[in-house]
């Protein structure tokens, strides 16, 4: 195509060197790695608010579950729809009980709920009941590796649990790095600081003492985006209950049977606009039938609010997080459904 290479193109001129220089290069890289690993770990322990807010919230709820304030009759577990939607104070009023909300996040999946129950039973007296608040589109999910790495139980805990994911060596190694090398697992934080050093991002999810975390402000843009996302899910994906979710529910049922407590599986609140859409409604109804079939053999798991509580857009932050007075309304409905079930 062209003339042969001429002498003007760049080439590689290798300079003279010696072993001392090479060793210096390699030692520099090792020293840099150590500095970054320990420096960032130190920074995060000094200023936890610089850390990933999701991980922080996840660990906070786990620590609450392990602590003495979690010795209650009613344990509230599940994803963020429960964390923001079920207020233990209202549950206490309606059911004349003591309760704590240790809901975490949807990406932790139901296996995390099973682990929480198992860890709880190892530390505290048996609760009277466990509520599990779960969003319909999370049944397919498995626990995400970063969250699994942040469960504050001794390394290898998953092997000692009743239900355990299959981890190959590479995944276990990734888990190790996620857990013990935060500069790798939380590097987005450092990126955020480096990109805006004059205004480093700081996040904090606020909880009250009972583990409840209220969302104060509506955000119509978030709501609209979430509606679009949920509609896409309903029209493009088949409803599936993942293998891990099934195993987790079976383990939870076994634990309930062995220790003698009831498990209430609660549908998360849902945006009215979704349920008014025929395609979405059909998808949702089909999901309920699948969930019914899955828990039919489980004698200690009971469904409440199978017909989900619906809210208009202005009372929600997204399609399953309620706001303001809707929180009390939803929590009261959950409590009353439990009460009705227990009276029967």
């Amino acid at each position: 195509m062209t003339a042969p290479l001429n002498g003007q193109l760049p080439t590689e001129l290798i300079r003279k060197t010696n072993w001392r220089h090479l060793a210096g290069s390699i030692l520099t890289l090792v020293a840099t790695a150590l500095l970054l690993v320990f420096g960032f770990a130190g920074l995060l322990s000094a200023e936890p608010e610089l850390g990933n807010p999701t991980y922080n919230a996840f660990v906070t709820q786990w620590q609450r579950l392990k602590g003495p304030s979690a010795r209650v009759e009613t344990l509230i577990l599940g994803d963020s729809s429960g964390r923001h939607g079920v207020d233990p104070k209202v549950i206490d009023e309606v059911l004349h009980t003591t309760s704590v909300n240790v809901c975490t996040i949807g990406s932790a999946g139901l296996i995390n709920v099973a682990w929480q129950i198992e860890a709880y039973l190892a530390r505290h007296p048996v609760p009277r009941r466990v509520l599990i608040v779960h969003v319909y589109d999370l049944w397919r999910r498995e626990i995400e590796l970063p969250l699994m790495s942040h469960v504050p139980l001794p390394w290898g805990y998953w092997n000692r649990m009743r239900v355990s994911p299959d981890l190959d060596d590479e995944t276990t190694w990734d888990l190790f790095l996620e857990r013990y090398v935060p500069v790798l697992s939380q590097n987005k934080i450092v990126v955020g600081i480096a990109m805006r050093p004059w205004d480093p991002p700081r996040w904090k999810i606020k909880f009250d003492q009972s583990g409840f975390s209220a969302i104060r402000n509506a955000d119509p843009e978030i709501f609209r985006k979430d509606v679009r996302g949920q509609m896409w899910t309903a029209t493009h994906l088949e409803f599936v209950i993942g293998h891990q979710s099934r195993e987790a529910m079976t383990a939870i049922d076994e634990l309930a049977g062995e220790h003698g407590f009831d498990v209430f599986l609660v549908n998360a609140p849902i945006a009215e606009v979704l349920m008014q859409d025929a395609d979405f409604k059909a998808y949702y109804d089909n999901a309920q039938i699948e969930i019914d079939a899955m828990i039919a053999p489980l004698s200690n798991v009971h469904r409440i609010l199978r017909d989900p509580m619906r809210f208009p857009a202005e009372r929600m932050q997204n399609t399953d997080h309620v706001l303001g007075e809707a929180i009390a309304d939803y929590t009261r409905a959950v409590g009353l459904a439990v009460a009705v079930f227990e009276q029967d």
């Binding site: 195509m1 062209t2 003339a3 290479l5 001429n6 003007q8 193109l9 760049p10 080439t11 590689e12 001129l13 290798i14 300079r15 003279k16 060197t17 010696n18 072993w19 220089h21 090479l22 210096g24 290069s25 390699i26 520099t28 890289l29 020293a31 840099t32 790695a33 970054l36 590479e170 190694w173 990734d174 790095l177 500069v183 790798l184 697992s185 590097n187 450092v190 990126v191 480096a194 990109m195």
Partner: protein, 471 residues
């Protein structure tokens, strides 16, 4: 197994231990490297090891017969066997569905209905690279420019050498085989250069290319959701991404090879500093462009038959070069674009001088560089589009305002890509791609530490495959 994975680091460490444990006997070293190469390749899909082995066996025996044979007809027949086997495998795995679908579409246009016969074919990773590499062996023996290698192990290592097996550089038998068939002296200077190449390659891949990918992917996945400057930034980001992704891979491959005592060819020579289309192809994917020049363009007649024939040969070479990248029309259009640029440029400048030093007339040289860069960027639009209707959409909507999303994209683009500029200007001015290794100890170590810290902190964690693996 990706270079940018922990598994590769562990693998390479194990290979180094074994390799240097048998350093007294280079033949044992070759066994170690061959075993490692097959293991490395098998990590993607062990089923395709058979293809790699088949290609190796055919060309090993064809090469020996070709060398011994004197009768021209038989020699052509033997070459035909090698071509049919290698290009047959490549054609089936890479192009069968494309041609079947295209033929069906064409029949549809002519009013004839036909059922498309497509198969669920998985593209074996790196097949285009090792096929071209092994073909260079039979071509060179056919032309009596190379003698066949005696040891089957040595030849198998030439085909499967793991640093460059899946994404090049596409080595020539005449360059790599002599390094395989004799003892290697692993020199401290080579290791030093290899360490820098690996470090800089990882930085280009994990930090620049993968961060650019986060800007590029959403835009090309749903282009109508973006307009104005967002499209332009996405296109510029892809221009940076594809260079850093591919040259990053080449640097890592060359660095790994250097540490093992091998010298692989330089695959990228600061391509975005090119002054004209001809210059660009001396700098971009050099191992492919020179392969196409030596085994396709020159055998077609090169520039020996007058202007029209030269332009025809350029067009054929570049169209096939485009098709080499993938079985899709946009790659063919991209090849046609570069073929047209080369042909037009030839008309204006029949004796191109490459890489004029800019001290003579910096403004003119910068103007040429700028124009060539714009033409290259347009080429990348043709290359990257997911559907052909994205081409007019980008062109019609690219010149527009800058919203909040666009401003954030510019911030991210500049933040993650700026390190490329000072390093490349330095390499360009010194004409030395290893310029950073020439620094005195303290600034050099500080630079290495900064690059390494950049990889750890700013590297995208989820290992993204290298773009050129798909080719």
């Amino acid at each position: 197994m990706l270079f940018n994975s922990y598994a590769f680091i562990a693998f390479f460490a194990a290979v180094l231990v074994l390799y240097f444990a048998v350093q007294r006997n280079y033949k044992w070293q070759n066994f170690v490297l061959l075993g490692a190469s097959y293991w490395f390749y098998g990590q993607w899909d062990a089923r395709f090891l058979g293809l790699l082995a088949a290609s190796t066996i055919i060309d090993y025996f064809v090469g020996r017969r070709l060398h011994a044979e004197v009768e021209p007809g038989r020699r052509r027949g033997l070459l035909g066997i090698s071509l049919a086997a290698n290009l047959g495998i490549l054609g089936f795995f890479k192009y069968f569905n494309f041609f079947a679908e295209s033929a069906t579409d064409l029949l549809g246009v002519l009013g004839l209905n036909a059922d498309p016969t497509t198969l669920n074919i998985i593209l074996p990773v790196g097949i285009s690279f090792y096929t071209f590499q092994t073909l260079s062996y039979t071509f060179d023996i056919y032309r009596r420019k190379l003698e066949p290698v005696g040891s089957f192990t040595d030849f198998a290592l030439f085909v499967a050498f793991f640093p460059q097996l899946v994404a090049g550089p596409i080595e020539r038998a005449s360059r790599l085989l002599p390094q395989i068939v004799r003892p290697r002296v692993v020199d401290i200077r080579q290791i030093n250069a290899g360490v820098f190449l690996m470090l800089w390659g990882y930085f280009k891949k994990a930090v620049i290319a993968d961060q650019m990918a986060l800007l590029v992917q959403p835009v090309f996945a749903s282009h109508t959701a973006y307009d104005g400057a967002e499209l332009l930034i996405a296109l510029l980001a892809f221009t940076v991404q594809i260079y850093c992704d591919f040259s990053g891979y080449s640097d890592i491959a060359r660095g790994v090879a250097k540490i093992l005592g091998f010298d692989l060819m330089i695959n990228f020579k600061l391509p975005y500093f090119a002054l004209n289309p001809s210059d660009f192809w001396l700098r971009w994917h050099v191992s492919l462009s020179t392969w196409l020049r030596d085994y396709l363009y020159i055998p077609l007649g090169g520039n020996r038959g007058g202007t029209l024939k030269t332009q025809r040969n350029l067009a054929i070479t570049m169209l096939l070069g485009g098709l080499w990248h993938g079985a899709a029309w946009n790659f063919i259009i991209w090849g046609a674009w570069h073929g047209t640029l080369l042909a037009l440029y030839r008309r204006f400048d029949p004796n191109p001088v490459h890489d004029r030093p800019i001290i003579g007339n910096p403004a003119r040289a910068l103007g040429q560089m700028g124009l060539m860069f714009v033409l290259t960027v347009f080429g990348w639009l043709l290359f990257r589009v997911e559907t052909l209707d994205q081409i007019p959409y980008f062109m019609l909507n690219m010149a527009g305002g800058l919203g909040e999303t666009g401003a954030d994209m510019i911030h991210r683009f500049a933040f993650f890509s700026w390190p490329l500029l000072p390093i490349q200007i330095w390499q360009y001015r010194t004409r030395n791609l290893l310029a950073p290794t020439t620094l005195p100890a303290v600034p050099r170590l500080l630079l290495y530490a900064a690059i390494f810290a950049g990889i750890v902190i700013f590297g995208v964690r989820e290992s993204m495959e290298f773009i050129y693996f798909q080719f």
